[in-house]
């Protein structure tokens, strides 16, 4: 078997972004993006949860304080939550958290909540690209491992 | 005690210059106003404030930092872990402005870190530090250092003592280390004018009425209170926070933990507090000090009995920090009074 080439490791800033995806919509949307071979930046790492409402703010805060450059929560569109209302609660929490993060100087783009349905492979890829672009433009997260 | 031959004065307007130069030759730690007054590393004399009764944090941070890397490790290759020392290159440091009570606390800390077991992290810093004390003529109402035989205007536990006597500071070296340092900075100093002792005495008037309790038998008196109800009322009030222990110049408990990263990490030690429930929490889930009463009692028993049993000293210098900063005003001086007077036993 032919081994993949080993391109030179790039030195420019490559943000590391964590995306929590709900099992029913966003994760399925991400799968669909894969099945559709939509090419996208490599920055995003997905953690599967059953519902976007499972993601506690503590985890987002911890991830940012660990130095990850961005955190996304991706869930079903409002009104389409597999569990009826999980994403509505996520939305409330996210509004408060995003404003709080911004208040201490974490740029709003570093924490995003987006809706991606199981049918929206293209949207998943667009959301990933947009986040990667925006967070790259912000530069490294300065709150990671701050002494 | 004070060697008169080494006594000098420095005009108040020359102090900043002296500190500037000290900061260049040494790692200078001095009181800085940042919301409140605390000891911090300074790089120039103008950062330093002398307008304080005492700092919020005691100077123990300079010898026993809240978080201190003991060593770093890397995973490296098949050889396993490689380690390297964690502390920055040890440097000569000067602490300027330490109060006599805090200076005494270091003597108590030495008993812990330089006793049967030598704690090299602490001792290295201790050896490389010159203490410049600042005599205390305006104590707070919560101060009660005379209780522990401390004269707040004395240079007993420092290398050099500065005493504010109005238009100038009286500068006295009480150790060889202090004398050497003064010699290096002699250009800022001048000869005594002769009225210094008189001025100092006048200023001591501010000490009149300072609380001085008779603690000679406290260790014996507190012992029978172990089972008593007295601690219930204190424990009920206590919030279980770490203010008293973290601000205390003599509290020295610590925990050790690792930062464990893919490529390696470090082992650090950090302050811990007997006021926290996890302090004595065992892996089994059992906790021998399961409530606030037990923890409060431990704190006072340690200060007033256990430390004394081991070192023939009480683990308190009467600096008053825990009284000033306790959000519910638990007052160690009052507790000592209650123990001495027998009131504690009657509750």
């Amino acid at each position: 078997m032919k081994l993949p080439d080993t391109k030179e490791v790039q030195t420019e800033f490559k943000p590391k972004i964590l995306a929590f995806c709900c099992n029913w919509c966003a994760y399925a949307g991400a799968d669909l993006a894969g099945v559709s071979r939509f090419q996208m930046p490599t920055n995003v790492r997905v953690i599967r949860v059953m519902c976007s409402g499972r993601v506690p703010p503590e985890l987002v805060i911890r991830a940012l304080a660990n130095g990850l450059d961005g955190v996304m929560i991706l869930g079903c569109h409002p009104g389409e939550c597999h569990y009826s209302e999980g994403n509505y609660l996520t939305r409330r929490r996210a509004h408060v958290l995003k404003r709080l993060l911004s208040y201490i100087g974490i740029e709003p783009d570093r924490f995003q909540l987006r809706w991606v349905s199981a049918a929206e492979g293209a949207k998943f890829s667009a959301v990933v690209k947009e986040a990667a672009d925006k967070i790259t433009a912000l530069g490294p997260n300065r709150w990671g491992d701050k002494r | 005690m004070v060697n008169q031959t080494k006594s000098r004065i420095i005009e108040k307007n020359r102090l900043t210059e002296l500190l500037d130069e000290l900061a260049q030759g040494y790692h200078l730690i001095a009181p800085v106003r940042d919301n409140d007054v605390s000891f911090r590393r300074v790089e120039s004399g103008s950062e330093v404030t002398l307008d304080y009764i005492n700092t919020v944090l005691s100077p123990k941070n300079a010898f026993f930092p809240q978080t201190e890397t003991l060593f770093r490790f890397s995973r490296g290759d098949s050889q396993g872990f490689r380690t390297e020392p964690g502390t920055e290159a040890d440097r000569e440091q000067v602490i300027f402005g330490i109060r006599p009570c805090d200076a005494r606390s270091l003597r108590l800390m030495d008993m812990v870190f330089n006793g049967q077991y030598k704690d090299s992290y602490y001792l290295k810093k201790r050896e490389k530090t010159t203490l410049i004390g600042l005599a205390c003529f305006n104590p707070d109402k919560t101060c009660f250092c005379p209780t522990f035989g401390i004269d707040p205007t004395s240079g007993e536990d420092v290398d050099i003592l500065f005493s504010d006597i109005g238009d100038r500071y009286l500068v006295e070296a009480s150790t060889e280390k202090g004398a050497t340092l003064l010699d290096r900075f002699a250009k800022f100093l001048s000869e005594l004018r002769g009225d210094e002792e008189q001025l100092r005495k006048a200023r001591k008037a501010g000490l009149v009425g300072m609380k001085k309790l008779d603690v000679s038998a406290i260790a014996d008196k507190i012992a029978p209170l172990y089972e008593g109800d007295y601690w219930n009322s204190i424990g009920m009030k206590c919030l279980g926070c770490g203010i008293c222990t973290y601000l205390c110049p003599t509290c020295h408990c610590f925990d050790i933990a690792d930062v464990n990263l893919d490529e390696g990490g470090e082992r650090f030690r950090c302050w811990d507090s007997c006021m926290f429930p996890e302090f004595t929490l065992m892996a089994s889930g059992e906790n021998p000090r399961p409530n606030r009463k037990a923890r409060v009692q431990q704190r006072f028993f340690h200060k007033l009995k256990y430390f004394h049993d081991r070192n023939a000293e009480l683990a308190c210098v009467g600096c008053g920090r825990c009284i000033r900063y306790c959000p519910v005003n638990i007052d160690i001086a009052r507790i000592i009074e209650d123990v001495i007077s027998g009131k504690a036993g009657n509750e």
Binding site: L32, V49, R54 | -
Partner: protein
Amino acid sequence: MAIPRIGVFICHCGTNIGGVVNVPEVVEYAKGLPYVVHAEANLYTCSEEGISSIKNNIKEHNLNRVVVASCTPRTHQPLFRNACADAGLNPYLFEFVNIREHCSWIHMQNRREATEKAKELVKMGVAKARWLEAQEEFESEVYPAAMVIGGGVAGMSAALNLANQGFEVHLVEKEPELGGRLLNLNRLFPINKAPDELVESIVKAVESHSKIKLHMPAVVKAASGYIGNFDVSIDEDGQETSFKVGVIIVATGAQVLKPELYRYGKLANVLTHLDLEQRLKDGELGEFQNVVMINCVGARIPERPYCSRLCCMTAIKNAALMKEINPEAKVYVLHRDLMTYGVEFEEYYRKAKEAGVRFIRYTPSKPPKVVGTKKVKSVKVYDELMDMEVELPCDLLVLATPLIPNDDNEELSRMLKVPIGDGGFFLEAHVKLRPVEFATDGIYVAGTCRWPADIRESVAQGYAAASEAAIPLRQGLVKVEAITATVDPRICKGCGTCVLVCPFDAIELKESKIRGLEGKIVAEVNAALCKGCGLCAAACPNRAIQQRGFTDVQLLSMVNALSGKR
């Protein structure tokens, strides 16, 4: 908890993963991760060979955790969990890492970064696996009824099959008549019979079946729940109706493209095959002498790259029929490739040629041209074989256009939370392993809503979906994935936040009966009602409530692993 012994299996998936991600490098990397005692690459971990390797290694290395890095848990998790269970390992000690859909397929141009990403994803999976715990599944009852959406031939076949097995079926058809596309057809290939007989018999069977409740014209308005327990509400002729079902079959069919090519809709003698069949059926076609048929109209083009599969046979069927009606007529079929893939299809094609139908191959770069202003007079086409342009006289031009997805697929997809794939058709869980099931348990798919299919295939898929759907209906019980919430009554403070956020009223505050905590008010989860969303676990301030399989320590370990912390 025993010391974790983690085995990592990394799938090449042929070249799907291995062609992009340097799998051997990932395997070496995995070997160095905490608690990993075995790591290996598989050509296909889901193959017989891969599965037996998992089983053998569980025994050989005494593995108590298994991590597979391959495709998506939405399709393959049950397979690998079963493999673990077969080897005596609790299936919940398995963790899935997706390095295909989420890595190799979306980073084909960047092998180095894809490999680095795959390593990190494996690291995160291993970090979670270290904290996995064995779980027991909770069983929940299946409501013994089905809903079939769509009264075409696929839907009716499915409904009849289930009804004949004795299950109650709600058949929801949006038109006022059963039959779907079949109603428009003139004849069926390759039997050349009119569909009336088939339609009549099947519709009659459906309408007269005591177990089938027909809702028509009706559309689904809302659906919620999970396998065994769906609550559905429909709008039936303006009336809102609700009912409960255990399973759902989607068989909503497709529509035929009306092209904007070859001046369709503008010139009177340009028809689609569906138009032609309708006219033949109605006896309204009239005289014709020169018939030209063009295949692949609006199909296999960049914006609609798929082959609709039915059109070639439809064209052959109708071309032969035109010859039959008027043996003197000249009938040409202009095609790109001829797909005669089914049983008897090639024979059918040969017979058409024998009957005098002429087949001319054209290339998409030189498509046929229509000549004529009010009517088509002739069609010019470049004949590849003769290497020249020919002009064919034409008084009837028939276009073979593809089946395209229904407009309401998207709405239904959102309602049922099932995916739509390329081009807007529904997407099954796995094209080979689970061809008529959605990834969401209890929902199935059949007929042309999935992909263009002929009658025979639609009927077969209808039966297949019904058979799959009958499994949970027959068993009467489904095992609920063990991802429900649990409370640690020792640290629960009984604040009731979880009670407020639970969408299913699955949590109550009750007096604890646990020894040492008697009388303490704590939250209690009713596992039968808990659907495993984890909302409570995220809302609980002191984390006394946890979602199994998605615990704090598991998620936090993944976050820390991604951050380079161990």
